[in-house]
């Protein structure tokens, strides 16, 4: 049951994604056409809150609930950030969904999104096979 807290937090995140409408294909289109502030407001305010939280955790040396030191692995730059990032951007504008919203959409009853998710799993699998041959 130690994982129950993650289930609960996931449920909360799923509800937020739906109520924020960030899982909407229409909203993603609107964002990429710069026709509404909605998505930009969400992404920017989420980053600001995340940024302040991490700074507070570091400044006050806040521990986890089990008393451990909080560690965040740094992200290392690879060419994949550029090439893969660009590919994901294409897919984001096509499907109108990033990975989080895929799960929320399926739950909300848009079952055809399961096809997109399966295809995404397949894409990850193909990346795993080709990984050594790709520039990093």
């Amino acid at each position: 049951m130690k994982n129950f807290k993650f289930l609960l937090l996931g449920i909360i995140f799923g509800i937020i994604l739906i109520k924020a409408e960030v899982i909407s294909w229409f909203r993603i289109q609107e964002m990429f056409c710069f026709q509404s502030f909605h998505m930009y407001g969400i992404i920017c305010s989420a980053i600001i809150v995340g940024l302040i939280s991490i700074q507070l955790i570091k400044k006050f040396n806040i521990k986890t609930i089990s008393g451990d030191e909080i560690k965040i692995a740094p992200k290392e730059f690879t060419k994949g950030n550029v090439i893969g990032g660009f590919m994901f951007g294409l897919g984001w504008a096509m499907t109108g969904a990033c990975p989080g919203p895929l799960y929320a959409l399926i739950g909300s009853g848009v079952l055809v999104v399961a096809v997109i998710l399966l295809s995404a799993v397949f894409g990850t699998y193909v990346y795993g096979i080709l990984r050594d041959k790709l520039p990093h």
């Binding site: 993650f6 289930l7 937090l9 996931g10 449920i11 995140f13 799923g14 937020i16 994604l17 739906i18 109520k19 924020a20 409408e21 909407s24 229409f26 909203r27 289109q29 990429f32 056409c33 026709q35 509404s36 407001g41 992404i43 920017c44 989420a46 980053i47 809150v49 995340g50 940024l51 939280s53 609930i65 909080i70 965040i72 992200k75 950030n81 893969g84 990032g85 660009f86 590919m87 994901f88 951007g89 294409l90 897919g91 504008a93 096509m94 499907t95 990033c98 990975p99 929320a104 739950g107 009853g109 055809v112 096809v115 295809s119 799993v121 397949f122 894409g123 990850t124 699998y125 990346y127």
Partner: protein, 186 residues
Amino acid sequence: MNILTQPWPWYISGPLIGLMVPTLLIIGNKAFGVSSTLRHICAACIPNKVKFFDYDWKNESWNLIFVFGVAIGGLIAGFFLANPNPIQLSDAAIANMNKLGIKNYSGMVPSDVFNFTSLLTLRGFILMVVGGFFVGFGTRYAGGCTSGHAIMGLSNLQLPSLIATCCFFGGGLLMTWVILPYIMNL
């Protein structure tokens, strides 16, 4: 109940999404991210000798449980807290999408394009199957998605995440402005 069924404005939902970052760190020392689950699904479901999937996915089961929760949250919000009205899009966006041939604005995805029968059309296949492939291949190659790079990575001032986020937008803009009109006309 009115507050729950209405869509939440950006200044409520954005900060709530941002709070996922410290909450995951404090309850379990976990970095916020979703796209890794696609890799764990591969590691768990497809028995293979591919090095990239040869690790004990059970150590990362929290992440799979988290996204299972996301689906349950989607179910709760989609069935019990659903907004009865269509999404309030800007007039400019609707005019633009009318030009793409979209007619039905109810629900979360344009149901004229995103349905099981249209999987058999070139347009539907490209948008859903090829699009999904790009999402899965691209996020793993980039080392993260909107959650892991744009929100978690930028919150932690990671330069690779800034580069990745810019490229997410670059790809999205190219698709939306240049390629998508052609796909929609197929």
